[in-house]
């Protein structure tokens, strides 16, 4: 059996990325869309850590930044979602339809 190399990690990361994008585009619940975005961010983290095997620690430091930022973003996002829920009583993106052309 071949040892696990950088390429394997990259393939997994790419798969996570695609799953995240599909999730954002097809799911109708805002909370699940948020989770799909987190999935993409984790794909990025996996990529950076995998590349760190070749290029050194720099990528790992970057991924810590991304984890922190993802937490901040999730906090703000849920806050915004609660403000919206108070007005419309829904988290379904099909019902977020006041603004249309």
């Amino acid at each position: 059996m071949a040892p696990i190399g950088t390429l394997h990690y990259l393939v997994i990361a790419a798969a996570l990325f695609v799953l995240g994008v599909i999730g954002v585009l097809t799911r109708r619940n805002v909370v699940i869309i948020l989770m799909s975005i987190e999935l993409i961010l984790n794909a990025v983290n996996l990529n950076l850590v995998a590349f760190s095997r070749i290029w050194g620690l720099h990528g790992q430091v970057f991924s810590i930044f991304i984890i922190t930022d993802a937490a901040a973003e999730a906090a703000v996002g849920l806050g915004i979602l609660i403000a919206f829920f108070r007005n419309k009583e829904t988290v379904n993106v099909d019902e977020i339809d006041l603004l249309k052309w």
Binding site: I40, V44, W55, F65, R86, W101
Partner: protein
């Protein structure tokens, strides 16, 4: 280059804060965090325009984005405002994730996140697939932030729902900062294969923006589509040679900020409590009822069309000539045709203001001193850039050397 963008962003922030005083009072929102969020966003934008390291660019991008996500939903009781905020947040963080994936691939291809190291590595002939994919994904993320087609879907919705002074800020400040980042990503890195990418984006943005603006009834929505079109004109400069493109981009961002902030200052004043009066019909007879405001708005609209004597003319002139010198005749023709289409909907607003009588009289509040100051700054900047563009363009040309070594 950093200094110039810092001055621009600080000026935008100052004018937006001046117009916010009255707006917050009219909307009966008493919240100090509004101003601190604006300042926080401004810090992010300044950092973004001076960062030469992709990690810092990402953090700065997030600082400015997160504060504008919150600001977009600041009229908490209004459903459309919080809806705008949710839309902006979801699509914005989606775009940031794309940008990050691009950065990760770029790191994988070159082993660094510093712009200059990446540039060296690419110049040395490193043109792996990873680098191409990285540039493309980063371009998607940044293209979203500047509202360039085909990543513009959020713009009209968010601009319509968000409070008017916030729209004034986010249609100019973060855009200018992200255009500064694009200068680094596209020119300094000398991104491989950028020409095709920009060609398509610029042509699409101009055409979609202008054509959709033709059928709008809401002034904020109309200005949103106009901002998509202007992002398209600006994109053209990135297809030019660095020596012409960089000054053109800097001049255009400054001019666009001056005229757009001014236009939104008037929109936010006329909107009234609860932003009720934002359709084009509400502007009927404005020329008679409030000649000064109408005159100011006319200057901004004429500048947005690109009439000589206003900044908009030279901004377009520099962009078109920069693209023309790189023999992008097709793109220039599309641009000129689009300017002609664009003139129609700005002129329609002018015609309504001066030649149509309003059915029902909408109340116009007296203009407070702060708004006068905001308008005076915007008008002065718009006219200065239109009458004496030489010094600004010369100042901008100096940064060509920094970016291209």
């Amino acid at each position: 280059m950093c200094l110039r963008f810092h001055i621009l962003i600080t000026a935008i922030t100052a004018v937006v804060i001046l117009m916010s005083y009255e707006y917050m009072a009219t909307q009966q929102i008493r919240a100090g965090e509004y101003y601190s969020l604006i300042l926080l966003g401004a810090v992010g934008m300044c950092l973004m325009s001076s960062a030469v390291e992709l990690v810092l660019i990402f953090i700065a991008l997030e600082i400015s984005s997160i504060s504008t996500y919150v600001l977009a939903g600041f009229r908490r009781r209004a459903a459309i405002s919080s809806e705008a905020s949710v839309k902006y947040f979801l699509l914005g963080s989606f775009a940031t994730a794309f940008f990050l994936y691009g950065v990760a691939l770029m790191f994988g291809a070159t082993g660094s996140t510093g712009i200059s190291v990446i540039a060296q590595s690419l110049r040395a002939g490193n043109t792996s697939t990873l680098a191409f994919a990285g540039i493309a994904l980063m371009f998607v993320g940044l293209g979203f932030k500047v509202a360039a087609a085909p990543f513009h879907i959020w713009t009209p919705d968010v601009y319509e729902g968000a409070p008017a002074p916030v729209v004034a800020l986010m249609s100019t400040g973060p855009k200018a900062a992200v255009f500064a980042v694009l200068l680094r990503v596209l020119f300094e890195i000398n991104a491989p294969g950028r020409l095709g990418l920009i060609w398509v984006t610029a042509a699409l943005s101009m055409t979609l923006g202008n054509l959709s603006a033709l059928v709008q009834h809401n002034v904020k929505r109309l200005l949103a589509y106009s901002s998509i079109a202007h992002a398209g004109y600006l994109m053209m400069a990135y297809a030019a040679l660095p020596a012409n493109g960089i000054p053109a981009v800097m001049f255009y961002t400054a001019t666009y900020a001056a005229m757009n902030v001014g236009a939104f200052a008037i929109v936010s004043h006329l909107a009234g409590a609860g932003e009720r009066y934002v359709t084009i019909e509400d502007y009927a007879g404005l020329g008679r009822r409030s000649p000064l405001l109408a005159a100011a708005l006319s200057i901004f609209l004429l500048s947005l069309i690109g009439i000589p004597m206003t900044g908009g003319f030279f901004a377009k002139f520099y962009v078109f000539s920069a693209a023309f010198q790189n023999s992008l005749t097709g793109l220039v023709i599309i641009g000129v045709l689009n300017s002609a289409i664009g003139a129609y909907y700005y002129l329609r607003l002018l015609v309504v203001m001066y030649m149509k009588e309003g059915g029902q009289e909408i109340p116009i509040a007296p203009t407070p001193l702060a708004l006068h100051a905001a308008l005076a700054i915007s008008i002065a900047a718009t006219l200065y850039l239109g009458i004496l563009p030489g010094r600004v363009i010369e100042f901008a040309s100096r940064s060509v050397r920094d970016l291209t070594q």
